[in-house]
Structures are given as C-alpha cells and as structure tokens.
Symmetry: C2
Subunit: 380 residues, 2 copies
C-alpha cells in the first residue's frame, strides 16, 4: 500500500460540510446549499436532443482517442472566432472532464520532484494532483486588497529555475476574479510552461472573456463543458496543446483514458449550437444573481474589498467572525441550515475565508442569504 | 517537457493498422475489421431507456465521488449472488471506465520504482500505465502449449521481494483464456498484492465465470460495463477494494476524476436489470461466433494449440507465415482488406502472433475469415 501518498492526499473539507448536510437532511432539516460549485439549471434542450440522438443511433462506442473530429473542429473555430487566435483541430484533445485535461498536461510537462507554481487561493485539486504525480508544490500568494490580481513583479522574483510549470485559473475558483490582460501578457514573458485552466471562461460579467492563448501561443489550455453549459456529470473537457506535445499527450490519453465519453461528445456538439440569445439569457441570470449576492453580503456586514467579476463565486473574509472558517461553516450549517465552503480548501492563507456560490437558482440564493443574515444576527 | 516519459510510452501498434485502414476506406476500399476489441452490437433497450430518463429528469450533475449508492449496491449484490463472496456496497467505487479503476488501484499500491508483475501476453495498456506512474514492469511469460495457464511453480520462483503487485486478467485479452480455479487459488497464497482485471467476466463459453475475490478477499477487483454490456463509449467501470483502501482510493478519485459519468451510471442500473433470457441470447451469439472462428482458422491451416474459452479473442501463432506479424497485419490489410491486431502489442514474445476478435457480427466475421482464407491461398 502506498501509505505515504495516500496519507498526503487531503480530502476536500467542503465534503465534511456536505456529509454533515446530508446527515441533517436525513433528520428532516431543510438545508440550503451555497457551498457547491456546480450550476444547477437544466442543460439546454439542444444538448439533451443531441445526446438522445447519439444513444438512439448507437453512436456510443469508443471514439478516436483524440475525440470526434467535428467537435474538435468546432472548438478550434470558436477560439479563432472569439479570440482571434490560430488553433488547429489537431491541437484540440477531448478529455474526460477538465480533471483529465489537467492530469495529462501535468504528466506531459513534469517528472518526479519537478516544481509546480500555484497561485493561492487555488482550486483544491491542484496541489493534490501535483503530489499524486510526484511533483512539488510551490505557492504564490494573491490578496483581496490587490483584487486577487497577480503581482507580476513579485511573481517574477518568486519563480526560480527549478519551477517547471505555472498553473493559472482565470476566471478563478474560489475568488470569481479574472486576471487583467496586462497580467496575462506579462505572464507570457516568463520562462516557464503555463497551464491555463479556463474552465470558467465565458462566465464574465464586467470585462470580456479572455484566453492565455492570445498572449502565449504555446500555453496549454484547459477547458470544458461542465461549468458554462452546466454539464458537470457528463464529464467532458478538453486540452489545447502546442504542436510538439500532441503526439505525447495522445499516447498518454490512449493508455490512461482510451477516449472521452462518446455520448457527451455528441451532446457537446449540441451545446456549441446554442443560440447567442439563449446564452445571453443565461449570462443575464448570472449577472442578477451575482449582484444580488454581493449587495446582500455587504448589507449584512461581510466585507468584500474586491470585485468578483466572473465565474459564480464570492470569496469572503470572515475574520470578523472567526479564526477558523471550517468551524464557522459547520456552525452556520447546524445553526441555520446553510452550506458554505470553508476557505481552508483553497489554501492555508485563507482559513478565515468562506466561499459562497451563486451557481444555483436565484430563489435558492435568496433563501440562503436570508439564513446567513439570520446567522449573523442571532449567532455572532 | 517530460521528454523521457513521453518517448517511453508506446502507442498501440494496432492503431497503425486502424489508421491505414481508414486511409484505405477513404480511398473506397472495403475493409473488414477483426482487429477491434469492442462489441459492435447495439446496447440493450433498458440501458438506452435508463440513460434517456436520466437526461430528461436532469439527473446529469456530479454524483458522489464513489458513485450512485443504488448502483454500487446492485454490483455488490451481484457478486454475492453469482460467486457467494461477501462484498459491501462501501467497497464498490464507480470509475470512468476500467482504465480509471486500474490507475486508482496502481496509485494506491505502488510508489516510484516499485515493481509490478505482468503476465505475458498482456493488455497493451498495463506496461504503459505502470511506466507513467513511475513503476517498473516485470514480465512473467505464459505459453500456448500450456493453454496460457500460469505455471504456478515457475511464478512462485519468479516473484521476488521487490515485487509489490501482480496484475492478472482472466478472462484474458488477447488470448481469450480464463485461468483455472486451482491457478487462482494458488495465486492467493503468494505474498503479493493482486489486481484482478475481470473486465471480460461473464463472457465464458465452456467453464463458469469466476472472480479472484472467491480466493483472496483482499484482491483489488477491476470490472466494468464496456465489454459485457457493449457500453464502451459510456466509460463506466468499477473497483472493488478491501476496506483499508476505501478512504485512500476515494481521496484519489475525488481529486483525479471527481466522479464517473452520471448518465452512464444511471444507464448501468438499466444494464443490471436485463433479463437472464436476453443475456443468454447474447452469450449464445458469442458461442456461435467463437465456434465459427476457431473451426475456420484451423480449417485454413492456422494452428491453435490451445482452447480460447472466453472473452471474444483468438490469439494465433502465425510463425508459419511470418517473423513479424506487424508487417504481416499490414500486408493482410493491403492485400485483402482485413484488419487484424499484431501480436507485438501484447508483449515482445508474441511478435509472430495475431489477435482475431469475434466481437463483431457473425456476418462480418464470415466475410473477414473468407478474406483471411483468400490471403493465405493467394499471398503466402
């Protein structure tokens, strides 16, 4: 048994909240979930229709390891049309969720004991995956007072020769912040491989969506259909890799995954046919929910010294109420039946923080924030 | 770039055959595929119905990382009912194909430079995955003259203290052979972790299906829905792990995969409700195809000094015709338009062998074997 590794891998602390929530729900308690980073609305009719057609026609066997060519071409065309970057369908590799994309990118870039730089606060899986793959994690901090923008001068000094990869996640989970274009542009000047996790791309409510590819043509891009199209359980992501990595990543993919789920690939062709009108309606919904959440949190005295402009998260400093947001999260759950994600999941510097998600319905968010108001009033 | 690893990973040689076949097909040539290890029949109506219901009802979000409890319970019950072994639903973990199950099993058991023993001929991904995960491959040979049964005395002498894991695959790809019960029973006495890949379990035409769990309660079992239920593109497998590994594997799974595809999990509940009558019809079909293939290969002078009793493969010694079955496979493809899998994919000892698959329709198999007969008559 690989005891050392298994004990090194941390569970998500939010899972403890979820498990407790399920226990309370079984006991009859009404729980409102604002801890989950998953859009809850139903997938678009076109996605369902393409999926069912794929099932009815028996298009449910292995696809080629790179994925369906027609879908890869649509993705390449979209990057060209939206961002003016040159992407060939040969550089697009469909994967089982963006998790697989990240694993393939890391394995293709790092070997045992290589260093990988993460930007804190970070998606909880990043450090765990790096550890699983034998790499070393180095953490570069960002701060609410800087709007969670990367301080480029500090980063330049921070990075050393042993650092092989920098992972950026813009828009970010948990902050809901996109890095500014001059930051992305600066990152392209660093002598380091960049994996750009763009899974929340398109969920931008103030600035236009962006891609690292615009600034660095050999960045490895990670994206997928889970967040923007609400297709979480469909497990479909993709990689865009520079030409010199295609063959290597393909060999890894063949051996590790065979191919991405075929029905999901066909469904994704439907997703990319959704009209701009329907997409804009969805984005308008997120804008409303975002404004509602921000104004209500501020109104109840939770300080938000930055602007969460994208994704569907608000990352709040709760040091006014606690030194340990995991205990606070558990107390909020037990006291008023509201689930929130403890900041410790996103890096050790953020153990006084809490992440609120506005990925669920406006009604659910309203109920959740009413509970939060009650908690602050009655229990703090 | 992790150049060393990427260059170490071998592609499947059968992919070269497939690519050449596609090229010829584009040129208008009719190709018969007996190289593919994938059942071509349509999935059962119950699988499609459950999948579409899952889509219509919006049951398409993340499942719990271990998978849907109702499906895990059905799988545990099935092992109890079929094999009389005690399996709890807590020990069943649903994965994205059996590939993910194998990766999770390996990571949970080996660390960098640990040795893993494979039984040759082996599934081509095994050595590649071990290399990707930093392990060392040791190869134990089996032979057609022994019916590809493991020589237990030789294996006992072969295994040393540095060997951490033995992977067995019974029924086997590429031989279509199941290990006898006294072999499985003997393996349980070895002081080594056993990963038993039972993905072809149930596709047995002479003896009853079996599981390593009957002989060794702490074996890690790998299984899935791809082969028996023809659900290859649905990417759904599972692990059965001993209690002491559940938590570790769950943490790895959360971080590496989040969860198995949710619609496929719901569809699999449909698969496990298929009547015995329908299952027996499918098995009768395989029996007929197996007999047809074996008798025709022998009839055209291809020696089969062993009995392929399970899965849907026949592994044939072609040394009468070639010293290099990759060239032979390519020549068969170009001369008569028949795809077969070169033996080199399954281990260096088998470069004079070819794998024929009877996973497609009887009609396709008939056409393919007629082409093979023509090839032997006209081109050798």
């Amino acid at each position: 048994m690989n005891n050392k590794l298994l004990s090194l891998i941390k569970p998500f602390y939010v899972m403890e909240i979820l498990e407790k929530a399920q226990e309370l729900e079984k006991g009859g308690k009404n729980i409102t979930h604002l801890e989950i980073g998953e859009p809850t609305y139903k997938v678009h009719e076109l996605i369902r229709r393409h999926a069912k057609l794929s099932i009815n026609k028996g298009k449910d066997k292995y696809s080629s390891s790179l994925g369906l060519l027609s879908l890869r071409k649509k993705i390449a065309d979209r990057y060209k049309a939206k961002f003016g970057v040159e992407v060939s369908e040969n550089e697009v590799i469909l994967t089982t969720g963006s998790s697989a994309a990240l694993i393939l990118a890391l394995i293709s870039l790092i070997k045992n004991k290589d260093q990988v730089v993460l930007v804190e606060p970070y998606y909880p899986c990043y450090p765990q995956l790096i550890k699983i793959l034998g790499g070393k994690v180095r953490v570069f901090k960002t701060h609410a007072k800087d709007g969670y923008q990367i301080d480029t001068n500090k980063l330049k000094k921070f990075i050393n020769k042993e650092d092989k990869v920098l992972i950026i996640n813009s828009p970010s989970n948990p902050t809901g912040v996109s890095q500014k274009d001059d930051v992305l542009s600066f990152l392209s000047t660093l002598k380091i491989n960049i994996i750009s996790d763009e899974i929340y791309q398109g969920l931008s409510y103030i600035h236009s969506p962006d891609t690292m590819l615009k600034y660095k043509s050999d960045a490895i891009i990670i994206n997928g259909f889970s967040k923007f199209y609400s297709m979480t359980g469909w497990r479909l992501g993709y990689l865009i890799v520079p030409k010199n990595l295609i063959r290597g990543v393909q060999k890894l993919h063949q051996n590790m995954y065979i191919c991405a789920p075929t029905i999901s690939q066909n469904a994704a062709i439907g997703a990319l046919s959704i009209s701009d009108n329907d997409i804009n309606k969805m984005l308008d919904g997120y804008k409303k929910k975002r404004e509602y959440m921000i104004s209500n949190l501020i109104d109840m005295g939770i300080s938000l010294p930055y602007i969460p402009d994208s994704a569907f998260y608000v990352f709040a400093d709760m040091s006014k109420f606690t030194n340990d947001s995991l205990s606070l999260s558990m107390d909020i759950l037990e006291s008023v039946g509201l689930g929130v994600a403890p900041g410790i999941d996103f890096g050790p510097s953020f153990k006084k923080y809490v992440r609120f998600s506005y990925s669920s319905s406006l009604k659910n968010i309203q109920i959740g924030l009413d509970k939060m108001r009650e908690y602050i009033k009655e229990y703090t």
